[in-house]
Symmetry: D2
């Protein structure tokens, strides 16, 4: 197991300086001379430390998430949701339940559930066009033993960098890096999923295509025919039963020694509207990459041919156009992954996302039932994260208009 | 060579409808009944088609790019550049020259150069804090034969999706997807590079780590010691001379049959300030992924252990902390890639970006001298793109404050 | 009393169209021919109506408000609040109490209070740098009789335009235009007020300077010496006791016939940090004007000499510079209102904001005790709104850095 | 004439500190002890001064302006302009010519003109959907005598605050506050005007309704019938010939003593699409107020009944609804100014904007021919500014979708 060092050596102790948090004391000692001084009449320095806010996402359909794993609860505000969309807590709850850890068939189900409540933005069963406030109270606030955390930074976790940046080691501060934060993505994702399905017939599916050293061959899953039921048919959420068994065995082999594994999630978008994405900085693949890489524990992202495509030549890689039976222009192959020039072309978008092995390891994991958990201390499993992926993608698509038609209402 | 089909079948012809461009006529025929109608007094429909603008980037240090490969010129506006930074056209020109195609030692140098001019925002050799306007006129506007382009969509190029989205097939419209657009990134990148070097000692370097099937082993390049001179020492811009030769041979073998190759660029950030990146949606790796995947021809992105790390277990993957001789907390390994919990930790950031093989292939390439061109029709080589990468990263860092100290000036 | 017409004639009845809400049915009838049609495989139109989200404000210190007057509650998310600022519910409650209607000394106090609760972002009494979630449950949800509202649009209220835009006439939808929405501004305002006071010594005060036809002369209040206690010393919140009495009498005279009055609020900023505001589009006065004019019922905004200054000549209007006893450059007069060239200069910022008379009038008002209510149906009084003004201004200042110092943390 | 003091006493002299510009040296001397120190390996402080960028405006139809009155030129980038809109330089030139100073019939016309050139985004006479780059070279760069400016801050100008904020006294830096900056607004405004006229029949007109003490009575101009020709019929650009004469006389009386006057511009929007504006922070009147107050020299803004409306009672102020002959719901009066609840209702929007008297005064003005110049040193007249107003409003409307219909294109 990896060792770790105590907090005090990293960013010194007494945080009395209001401006640079815990960073300055240590640095100041090494300095021969002063060089930044601000004076006001009251002789107290006027310095206010500010950091970029990073909890909001989107423009039209804007989501702001809040909450820590061990505060009062987590949730989100959805601003800009179209009015008159039927919506209830049940729409979100089904996906929140999927996200929840401890769901393996052989697992004792957790008593507490992540029960969401909509406090505003919905009236008489339909959205009103005003901000939708979704809140999921934390019900499991006692148990965890964070005494170890208060002494040492856990390797490859966020607590060292969070402490350095915010000067806060409280559970609440670090709690934003917990997988529980993804509740704030699943809830709006459920709304986005519903809207996109209704208006564009768009479907998003994700499945585990690699767990540790078990790699699902590319041609096993037919992306045209894949269903959610196939994905949900086993606890590792790999649509192929044979490989699912292999993956479970591989994870179990590592789990019994208290260790964790990494893996890859494949995510597809079927019936993605054409024309999504803007040239230059806001290419669709760039937006998708940002969304995926903002999930905890991600280390890589590919679209279409990905890294494997770099071994091809241009003649091998190019997707040939043809006219299908309905007179539509299509491509015979899809190495572009449904995106050309940064803009969706109507073919299936396929992506692969790399998740590192869970950082939390150790003897405590041995006693856990098999649950394919990657981030077991926060309780999120790989396949559950895949739902966040779906929802984030839907959210993203919903926020980026392609062919927005400004309907200018007549004055009278 | 891949075939392609004529434009008219994809998105039909006469574009008489002002609202949905070329999209509607085709669709309308298939419809049994009307369902969206807007009326004004003048009886003309009030519908205005709008698409998201995607040419701006950043908040504090905001860059807006403009220009097409075959219009009057390309360039950018840099808004929010700090005042009193020494800056001249020479600062940008050196990097613009690196970006330019046709630079191989064995290549006849192109006569025309991408000569930039600063029209505003700089006075007496220093920035004034006002928008910096950089313009690079197009000087090579005649030659290209776009007659073929006017008939058929080129496979795996952007013209099909651009035509579908914008209903414009002119060279100018499509020209935003040309590699020449990256001039608008290199110029502000040069400013960002200078600022970051001056204020934080940050250095960014990139090199070709794979060309077609020649893969540079990971331990050959020492990221602590790598210099720009090493990278620039050969035309393929791989810092290891032996592998550089192999890459050149591999490219040449494909080039002589008129074909192109893909490859991978490795990019590192040394002395990256700690604390960059925000929790949740704006994690540093998410921002970097978006920046990299917005470059033309990219298909994949990895940071730290990347996809290879998914084969490890948690105990193999975790980066152990230790206290170095100066009392600083460091990590012994760097599988996190310099980023933990979405925030930079001061270790070297390393990324790998996959570039697909150039889409333009064919007999015309055979006659070209060896120049490692991936996108030969627009003249950008893989190593040149790598400079864009550096600059974009610098730009990105510059736009995202980590420890911004609001200095509230006394009233009197 | 003004009459009004039934809903059905304005925007027709059966809202079965998912795309344009209630707008289309009426328009469609008048149309001779179809012209916008979109078809998908399922033969259902793919049209999604989207409207700009307008509930968020600021960049660094970003506030998102939510909630309706008659849903589950109202509140806000504050993203980007600096860490380690002492904060408790009490800090906000005092200002929320001021905002609350029904506070006149001669008024029966309302039983229910607007009690706020912080659910995240604060731990052990200090902010953690994560989003602060403040929620104020609605406790008074039954009483109001909205039967009339369901039939006719109330004159000069928001219900006609809300119905037209959102196609929703529910109380929740319209509730975003209620003065109760300002709770979502007062809470973050209280945080901003605390931060600015602590770091910059900035103070913001507002008072009623006109109620109906009683106009407080300009030289009666000394802006250098004005205190909050003076403002709070009477129910009309005019710091001059004599004029306060006159205003109360004027309001009472109108109130007894069931009518309402308009008025003007003067707002000052003392010790405003110099350098706030950016040239061109984001001038400080432009930002302040937007903030003030986003409050319900505002019709006008002035800064410094305002409309009165247009009657002066340049020689009469110019503020002469001088050097004060401490060597600081000051202006002898302050017709610029503390802002020159869009940037604060350290002098007192003074603004005047016009509020129209409350739209809700009628016999029901007669029985109400004297309470200077302008928007009596939602219970907000003119002086209470002035606190929202203060807080909004503080919030604004906090979101717009002037001299942000990017402190680039050393890598090690 | 107002005196002024030398630069050096305000913000001290030798600007050797790269981080806080000219602000620190002076402050540092007064400090007893150090308190902010940052160290890097190279022992040079890592401090980078950053200020908010304020030169961009809008989201969908985003305009970025650049250039100073005395650099190479001024201009703008328009990103997000819909494709296939006919556009040429002539469309902009006519409005740029109106903006230009020195246009009075009795004035010697300036030789040089503000000649715009479109460098990108337009091809074969139509927009391509890519960024439109408009550039107006400065041709009159020699004449002005800025020697006085280099010594003393001019009263009520921007140079003191610009110097304080940016530490730059060069003409270029200060040049962003010059009225020449408004060229960057007129050009995109011309595009917006064309689009809105074409798609919504919207017209914007502005005229001078007060010059010094000559106030045009409210009922003289019929806003339903007002034409541009009426406005342009005299040099003061007041549509009523009688009052125009009075205004000219009033200005002339002041002008001959080398003084300047203030005034008020009334701006109306006819056929404004209904539904513009979003609840809470982005109410339409708030957006308009920001746009107007971002113009140089503005001190006040009113909409509808404005400040005068505060003297009314609710029963006098409310706009009664009625159903017109076409079955549309209208209001009999328009004290709301075309906006209710922050959303346009289709009635005429009317605004009044206060402009302070030109700060530049003195003997040099006496010799100028009559030209109604308020900001004579930059050459912009009151009526010319009114065009900027029109364009900004159009730009604003164009950037804020009301009923955007996301048309989700079928995949095939």
């Amino acid at each position: 197991m990896a060792s770790s060092v105590a907090s005090k050596t990293f960013l010194a102790a007494p945080r009395t300086d209001g401006s640079l948090g815990s960073l300055l004391p240590d640095l100041r000692r090494q300095l021969p001379s002063p060089n930044v001084q601000i004076l006001i009449r009251s002789r107290t320095p006027k310095k206010l430390q500010v950091k970029a806010a990073g909890s909001a996402f989107g423009t039209y359909f804007r989501v702001t998430t809040f909450g820590e794993s061990h505060g009062g609860g987590v949730g989100c505000i959805i601003d800009g949701c179209p009015p008159r969309i039927p919506l209830s807590e049940a729409d979100m709850q089904v996906d929140l339940d999927r996200r929840r850890p401890g769901q393996s068939r052989i697992t004792t189900p957790r008593k507490e559930t992540d029960t969401c409540k909509i406090y505003s933005g919905v009236s008489e069963g339909v959205t009103t066009g005003t901000p939708i406030h979704v809140f999921v109270p934390n019900t499991d606030q006692r148990g965890h033993d964070y005494s170890e955390m208060s002494v040492a930074y856990r390797p490859s976790h966020a607590d060292a960098t969070y402490d350095m940046k915010y000067g806060v080691r409280s559970v609440q501060g670090g709690g934003r890096s917990s997988a529980r934060e993804t509740i704030g993505r699943v809830a709006p994702g459920a709304v986005a999923k519903k809207i996109l399905k209704q208006f564009a017939g768009t479907e998003i599916l994700a499945y585990v295509s690699q767990a540790h050293n078990v790699v699902l061959p590319e041609d096993v899953v037919d992306h045209e025919m894949l269903t959610l039921d196939q994905v949900e048919s086993n606890i590792v959420r790999c649509p192929d039963p044979e490989y699912a068994e292999k993956m479970i065995a591989a994870i179990d082999a590592v789990r019994v020694r208290g260790d964790s594994v990494g893996g890859v999630v494949t995510c597809i978008v079927r019936n993605c509207p054409r024309g999504l994405g803007s040239p230059v900085f806001d290419k669709l693949e760039a937006e998708l990459a940002k969304a995926m890489m903002s999930l905890p524990a991600t280390k890589g992202f590919e679209v279409g041919s990905g890294f494997a495509g770099t071994f091809l030549t241009g003649s091998e890689h190019n997707d040939e156009f043809y006219t299908d039976e309905f007179g539509n222009i299509r491509t015979r192959t899809n190495r572009s992954g449904g995106i050309q020039g940064g803009i969706s072309n109507g073919e299936i978008i396929n992506m692969r996302i790399a998740f590192k092995p869970t950082s939390t390891i150790g003897v405590s994991l041995i006693s856990l039932p098999l649950s394919i958990k990657t981030n077991s201390h926060v309780g999120t499993t790989l396949p559950i994260v895949m739902y966040s992926l779906c929802f984030i993608l839907l959210l993203w698509i919903c926020s980026k208009p392609s062919f927005a038609l400004l309907v200018l209402l007549p004055t009278r």
